[in-house]
């Protein structure tokens, strides 16, 4: 189910669309309640699966991944209230990311599937959703070697 390194190199280019301008989390993020304004920057290889979410207010950044590349079966169902709050009228209005924890060893990097980042691609309004459905906050990004 997880992408292996080999799979990744064969994955179709599925770059997340980077909304222009700032990404605004009106509620901050859990653990970072007063960090609200970010810029979304490309990271790594061109059209690769990663982006960097960099705070414009303080020295905080998060590495984000396009979940479609690593977890093709993953679906984040956003409740109507959240969708309305974000100003989403259709699924295409949203860009979905997962936060990556790199830790000490990059090949053991994990992604937070429980709390994906949902961004309105035209307004930059964003939220860390809470799916509450048994998803892990530390799902390995890369399949175990040799598995």
């Amino acid at each position: 189910m997880n992408a292996t390194l080999q799979d990744l190199s064969n994955a179709p280019a599925a770059p997340p669309t980077h909304p222009a301008g700032e990404i605004i989390f009106d509620h901050g993020l859990p653990g970072f309640p007063s960090t609200r304004r970010f810029l979304l920057e490309a990271w790594g290889v061109a059209n690769g699966p990663f982006s960097l979410l960099r705070s414009v207010e303080r020295d905080t950044e998060f590495l984000l991944a396009d979940p479609d590349v690593f977890f093709p079966d993953y679906t984040a169902e956003i409740d109507d209230e959240t969708a309305t709050w974000l100003g989403l009228r259709q699924a295409d209005d949203a860009v979905l990311f997962v936060i990556v924890t790199v830790g000490d060893r990059a090949d053991q990097a994990t992604a937070n599937l429980l709390g994906p980042i949902v961004v309105n691609r035209s307004t930059g309004r964003a939220i860390q959703a809470v799916l509450n459905e048994g998803f892990s906050t530390r799902e390995p990004l890369f399949a175990t070697r040799g598995a």
Binding site: L8, A13, G48, E81, V100, L114, T137, R138, F142
Partner: protein, 83 residues
């Protein structure tokens, strides 16, 4: 902390439109029913704590860790056609 004693099927109100009802008490377990407007997010506290911890661990990865991850990345898309 405000402490209230309630029996099964009794409720408390939080503000004008949030109602928490004790549905069942069995040993250490209490089943609660919560009625709230859709704009009020209701989560188990430990879920939010889990997200806070995950975000703290993920925040501001070290340059060394990012360099290592960069070295795992495949060549630029488009360099190889999907087979």
């Amino acid at each position: 902390m405000l402490v209230l004693t309630r029996s099964t099927n009794q409720s408390i109100m939080i503000g004008p439109d949030v109602v928490v009802t004790v549905l069942e008490v069995r040993g250490d377990h209490v089943r609660l029913g919560i009625t709230a407007p859709r704009s009020v997010a209701v989560y188990r506290e430990e879920v939010i704590a889990q997200l806070e911890a995950a975000n703290r661990d993920a925040s501001s990865p070290s340059a060394a860790a990012l360099d290592e991850l960069r070295s795992l990345e495949p060549p630029a898309s488009g360099a190889t056609e999907p087979t």
